[in-house]
């Protein structure tokens, strides 16, 4: 009876409710995170594991393939930010205006790619970017009287394929994010701006942009993280984790290759820690410049 009363009291209940999170947090977050850091200083063999200091990191400094992976991920991240912030924002602004008819249809259609898994979308894009003249992109090239291209064998054309795949999947999602940000703006602001004779561009610059800042920061953050940790898109486009001259290799791809395919866990964890440091650094810089760090999180 006493136990029941204790468990049902107002003081205990929140802890009971939050318990699964605390357990999961310790087992599936803190523990692996700390192990990742510890493992990155180890040489993990099949039989024995020994500490080797910063050797993994020193090796990473000289590892040319890793440098390619970092550059690829960086380039991909920057380009996705360029493509997946301004355009979805523009579409959202149009969608929010009274200019567009049949909004529901467009919103639904633009969201559909997000429903498909990478296996399916990756395979479809691989077929479209096939090097044979039957691939859609090569059909387009032929129509434009240009030579066909081996899309997925050259760095810059394969980058186009990756970026198109990424834009195809996420433009609609980001547009919906911005759209919800726009919906939260008080419309009377635009009216008073109209009375003051503001142009459309001025309204966009001085009302829309500042007021959807929380949304923009959120979208920017997830785009940066998704860009840096991209792996499956390239895994599917090249149907496996190896591409000619590593043109499709990303940081996570290298982590997977080292850790799972070559079973060198220690070295792979060092790759992971570097990824985490890069991600957090970029994010802090971004948040610093956007001035969110000064405010309360809540």
């Amino acid at each position: 009876m006493k136990v029941k009363k204790f468990l049902c009291s107002e003081k205990t209940a929140p802890y009971v409710f939050a318990l699964p999170f605390l357990i999961s947090f310790v087992i599936f977050w803190i523990y692996p995170l700390i192990s990742a850091i510890i493992m990155s200083f180890q040489d993990i063999g099949a039989v024995s594991t020994k500490f080797i200091g910063a050797k993994n990191y020193l090796k990473l400094l000289k590892d040319g393939v890793f440098h390619i992976a970092v550059l690829n991920s960086f380039e991909y991240m920057l380009l996705t930010c360029v493509l997946l912030i301004p355009f979805p924002l523009l579409y959202a602004v149009l969608m929010d205006s009274r200019l567009v008819k049949a909004k529901g249809v467009w919103k639904a259609v633009l969201y559909i790619p997000a429903l498909t898994s990478v296996v399916i979308s990756g395979t479809l894009f691989r077929l479209m970017f096939s090097e044979y003249k039957t691939g859609q992109l090569n059909i387009l090239m032929t129509m434009l009287n240009m030579p066909t291209i081996k899309w997925l064998k050259v760095k810059w054309t394969s980058e186009i394929a990756l970026l198109l795949l990424c834009c195809w999947r996420w433009t609609g999602v980001n547009m919906l994010y911005f759209l919800s940000g726009l919906k939260s703006i008080d419309k009377s602001l635009y009216e008073s701006a109209d009375i003051d004779g503001a142009t459309t561009w001025q309204k966009f610059k001085f009302i829309t942009i500042p007021l959807i800042k929380p949304t923009s920061i959120y979208v920017l953050t997830i785009t940066i993280y998704a860009g840096l940790s991209m792996f499956l898109e390239s895994f599917m486009l090249w149907s496996g984790n190896s591409s000619p001259n590593n043109i499709g290799l990303t940081i996570v791809g290298y982590l997977y290759k080292r850790g799972i395919e070559k079973n060198d866990m220690g070295y792979a964890c060092a790759v992971g820690v570097v990824l985490m440091v890069i991600g957090l650094t970029i994010n802090f810089i971004q948040l610093f410049f956007n001035g969110t760090l000064k405010k309360e999180e809540d």
Binding site: C8, E10, A13, P14, Y15, F17, A18, P20, F21, S24, F28, Y31, P32, L33, S35, A36, M39, Y91, L94, S97, L99, K101, W106, V109, L110, Y111, I112, P113, A114, L115, T116, S117, V118, V119, I120, T123, L127, M128, Q136, T171, L176, Y177, L179, S180, G181, S184, S188, Y190, E191, D194, T215, I217, Y218, L255, G259, M265, A268, G272, M276, T292
Partner: protein, 305 residues
């Protein structure tokens, strides 16, 4: 609310245009409508193109796919239902596909139910009570969102092996059940609800758990719908982690299974393309039913981060 604002907006615009030339404004507006709607029409066509091409290709033999690429020509003489007949034929190869399908279904349904229940209660605790660790737990939830899963992947993999959960559904599911984004969403939804509801329940003699389940849960129902669809999408399409955890072909989910059809020793495109199209169907149906909740679910974090 929105409607009245729009109506006001329209009336101000009308009076403005009355001052200028009414006809000119109207023409300008309809040109704008033409181009803006046209833009979305073009975008939508580009978006559906790969899927339509895939759908048409699924009615042709896999060999054609290699020979002619993703052709979008509606040439009915070369199109047939063979790939789908094969999928439904009950042959061992085809049964493999349905096993993946069943595994995906089971995994998705279980994941959605457990995730929603667990995350609801965690969010309930941090938004409805004032207790010592409240703030700490909230910060921890945010912190877990800041580290990409890919970094924890390898130690988690070792851990799952040590816990003997490798090659099992639980190994795939357990690490993700306390989804921080889901907790965060429920929290955003609940923090504006009046706490007096709890007190009213307490005065009536209900205990804390009864209040959480019988009084609050029905109020939070829309949030459940929003999270259910997003969670189902994530689980149905999840690939990287299941790829690491599952080992035996009998446990594969659709994403992993379809991926195995792409082998260096000749791809089974017949089954791949038809199977891929079938794999989109369940999630597409869910999307069409729950569509209006998706926006709420996605944007809780974005509007007031």
């Amino acid at each position: 609310m929105v409607n009245t604002v729009n109506a006001q907006d329209a009336s101000t615009n009308n009076s403005n245009s009355a001052v200028k030339s009414e006809g000119g404004m109207k023409v300008k507006r309809s040109i704008g409508t033409f181009f803006a709607t046209g833009l979305f029409l073009v975008l939508s066509l580009i978006i559906v193109f790969p899927l339509v091409a895939g759908l048409i290709a699924s009615f042709r033999p896999g060999r054609e796919l290699i020979r002619r690429g993703l052709s979008i020509s509606f040439d009915f003489s070369t199109m047939n239902l063979n790939n789908y007949n094969y999928l439904f034929s009950g042959r061992p190869d085809a049964m493999k596909y349905w096993m993946w399908f069943k595994n995906s279904m089971l995994l998705t349904v279980t994941t959605v139910i457990l995730t929603l229940i667990i995350c609801y209660f965690v969010a309930y605790a941090i938004s409805m009570y004032e207790f010592k660790l409240q703030r700490v737990i909230f910060v921890l939830v945010i912190a877990t969102m800041m580290v990409p899963f890919e970094i924890l992947m390898l130690p988690l993999y070792k851990e799952i092996i040590a816990l003997h959960l490798i090659d099992s559904m639980w190994g795939v599911m357990l690490p993700g059940l306390c989804a921080p984004s889901t907790i965060f969403f429920f929290h955003q939804y609940m923090k504006s609800l009046p706490k007096e509801l709890l007190d009213a329940g307490r005065i009536d003699g209900a205990n804390e758990y009864f209040i959480a389940v019988k009084i609050m849960m029905p109020i939070v129902k829309p949030a459940f719908s929003a999270m259910a669809i997003l969670c189902a999408m994530g689980s149905w399409n999840n690939m990287l982690w299941p790829l690491m955890v599952f080992r035996s072909a009998s446990k594969f989910t659709l994403t992993i299974g379809l991926n195995t059809l792409l082998t260096p020793y000749g791809n089974n495109y017949d089954m791949l393309i038809a199977g891929s199209m079938m794999a989109i169907v369940p999630i597409l149906i869910l999307f069409l039913i729950f569509q209006k909740y998706i926006v709420d679910g996605m944007t809780a974090g974005a509007v007031k981060g």
